[in-house]
């Protein structure tokens, strides 16, 4: 009975392999999300109270010049056509010209992005190295003083304005104690000494073997990176703790203990192994959050990354730069989300 039903099902359905179907579904939903993202930025660009033509030609241009540029930008076309123009440009990596420096926005973004990447990577690294063990220990010793400390650390992290903490850090560690470098990526005499390869100064100076520059760059990055690290630590340690608690209350853990397995083996070989996939998802999310959440940190530390690029552009009404930056950050955000979803599917057999 069951067999015949299955057969009939099989004949009726199109011969599409299940994995192909899920792949197509995933790709489709990604495409729709990205399209939506571009649509939202397009709409924002259109309702902005800034005349893009006036911004290019200036206020004293003649009516005919104005009209010429107006048509050049495609503003005389219907909105839907304009949207497709926009889409076409973005697909080809063209975000238009920056009004401030008359250079392509995509070049600007490529120039500032490594600074953000360097900062966020170091930050999330610190968050993982400290946050994961803290979360595990807090879960294992639930209710102990170390659990309380972990709780307070996370609570303060969730409640503290990051720009204020950054200012206080600058005041104490740079202004009063003088332990770290001030705002910016390097002291002025070290700028442009090492050749640019990756745009990440720590990496460039290490590749060049110039350890003096490396040390200086490190003294500048350590404070903003610890700041971001603290925020990802708060999140990662909380999540690790709750994942671990869930595992530790499972029956297989009791079985392992009854078998006489050492506590260390129970925790690291059994419980921790089972939360690795969830943990990777959390880390990917917090990395994505750091890439975008560093806007305020970058402003405080005069860090020339994408966050301060967007903000500066915003304050000087440079529309193309704002939208280009927003799209790039949004795309990275989506890609990291997809990446963590995929990891989940690949490494966690239960999700199949």
């Amino acid at each position: 009975m069951a067999l015949t039903e299955e057969n009939r099902e099989g004949r009726r359905r199109a011969p599409l392999a299940p994995w192909l179907k899920t792949t197509l579904m995933t790709v489709g939903s990604i495409a729709v999300t990205m399209l939506g993202l571009l649509f939202v930025t397009f709409v924002i660009g259109r309702v902005m109270p800034i005349d893009p033509v006036l911004a290019i030609v200036g206020e004293r241009a003649s009516q005919s010049t104005y009209q010429e540029v107006y048509e050049q930008l495609g503003l005389d076309k219907p909105l839907i056509v304009q949207f497709f123009y926009y889409l076409w440009d973005v697909i080809h990596g063209d975000f238009g010209m920056s009004l401030l420096n008359a250079r392509p926005v995509s070049e600007d973004i490529a120039r500032v992005f490594p600074a953000t990447l360097e900062l966020a990577t170091l930050g999330v690294f610190a968050g993982i190295v400290l946050g994961v063990p803290l979360g595990v220990i807090a879960a294992v010793r639930r209710g102990s003083w170390i659990d309380q400390i972990a709780r307070v650390v996370a609570l303060v992290g969730y409640s503290m304005p990051i720009f204020w903490l950054g200012l206080m850090g600058l005041l104490v560690f740079y202004g009063i104690l003088g332990w770290v470098g001030g705002p910016g990526r390097l002291d002025i005499f070290y700028v442009d000494i090492v050749p640019q390869r990756t745009g990440m100064i720590l990496l460039d100076s290490a590749l060049d073997g110039n350890w003096e520059v490396f040390r200086n760059a490190f003294s500048h990055i350590v404070l903003p990176a610890s700041l971001l690290g603290y925020y990802s630590l708060a999140y990662i340690s909380r999540m690790t703790r709750s994942f671990m608690l869930e595992q530790l209350s499972a029956e297989y853990i009791t079985t392992a203990r009854v078998k006489g397995m050492s506590e260390r083996a129970v925790i690291w070989r059994h419980a921790f192994r089972n939360i690795r996939v969830q943990l990777i998802t959390v880390i990917a999310l917090s990395y994505a959050n750091l890439l975008e959440g560093s806007v305020l940190t970058e402003i405080i530390f005069s860090w020339p990354g994408i966050g301060s690029y967007i903000t500066t552009a915003l304050l000087s009404a440079d529309m193309n730069a704002v939208l280009g930056g927003t799209v790039v950050v949004g795309l990275i955000f989506i890609l990291l989300n997809i990446f963590s979803d995929l990891l989940y599917k690949v490494f966690d057999p239960r999700s199949k």
Partner: protein, 305 residues
């Protein structure tokens, strides 16, 4: 038996006699559970204090929050007549903090009105109607979720113009998607339950079912989420204010006050420090209260925390 004890017994009964009785009784039990959570009560106390400060600001503030006194600028903490010092224009920082509590409360209340209600509408409709409506609404939600929050708020403020109302709108626009997700998930479980079928058989239309029977059950998880989100909303608003995109000068918004004090941070640290502590205290209070509310209203989540 005294009158209060009778009331207590009436509230704690296991056999409520009317709908109102049952509702009041469960409310009271929740309050008792919340009251035993010291940290949550601490948070609540801070928030009540904030509310009182905002209401009675004109009576509490020792000086005019906007009056400049250039001869008296950048006075340190504890100076005569200016307990928390003065800022770069000689304005009393304590008075500005007290008036700033009004702005904070205003932002919090507005966002708490807009975002959850928008999310509730979208989520329940998507969950109840299902099919392609669900698909479309959830796609839109995903698109907004895909945007990094602060960056999206920045772009919106850029489009709408800087100012406190626009900052509220921008934050709400970035804050509603999680509520829609929660409301949809709740609706999906409620929709297939027996009592909904019973009501439908009695002839209730979808509008009546959603507003009278689905919404009330979504409320508690939304309240928890709103309270926990408030801290993030305050931080976002302060961040926008700090960037000069939120409340405009001379408004004593706390984030903008930090931004003002930033220029003198090395010599006159208190100008930026004090408003930061105020922001921290209020968002900590919301986090503490939210944690407590989650334990009371949403025990399935609270167990793992």
């Amino acid at each position: 038996m005294s009158e209060t004890e009778t009331l207590r017994a009436w509230l704690l009964t296991d056999t409520p006699t009317s709908r109102r009785h049952a509702r009041l009784s469960s409310f009271y039990k929740g309050w008792l559970a919340l009251r035993s959570n010291t940290m949550a009560m601490f948070g609540l106390a801070i928030l009540v204090l904030l509310g009182l400060t905002a209401v009675f600001a004109p009576f509490l503030a020792p000086h005019d929050a906007f009056a400049q006194d250039l001869g008296n600028r950048l006075q340190p903490l504890g100076s005569d007549g200016n307990f928390l010092g003065t800022d770069s224009l000689g304005r009393d920082i304590l008075s500005r903090l007290i008036y700033g509590s009004r702005i904070t409360l205003y932002i919090v209340l507005l966002v708490a009105m807009i975002a959850p209600i928008a999310g509730l509408l979208v989520g329940t409709i998507a969950g109840y109607v299902g099919g392609w409506v669900d698909l479309v609404l959830m796609r839109i939600t995903d698109i907004f979720l895909a945007f990094p929050r602060l960056v999206l708020a920045l772009a919106f403020v850029a489009a709408l113009g800087a100012g406190i109302e626009n900052a509220v709108l921008a934050i709400s626009l970035t804050a509603w998607p999680p509520y829609a997700r929660i409301a949809r998930a709740e609706t999906l479980t409620i929709r297939s339950s027996d009592y909904i079928s019973a009501i439908r058989l009695q002839g209730a239309g979808p509008l009546r079912i959603i507003t009278k029977h689905v919404w009330p059950l979504c409320i508690s998880s939304l309240i928890v989420r709103v309270t926990l989100d408030m801290a993030g909303i305050i931080l976002a608003a302060a961040g926008l204010g700090f960037l000069g995109l939120g409340a405009q000068p001379p408004s004593p918004e706390w984030g903008a006050m930090i931004s003002e004090g930033r220029r003198f941070i090395l010599d006159h640290w208190w100008v930026a420090t004090v408003p930061g502590l105020a922001i921290f205290t209020v968002s900590l209070a919301f986090n503490l209260l939210g944690d407590g509310l989650r334990d009371v209203l949403d025990p399935k989540d609270g167990g793992t925390q």
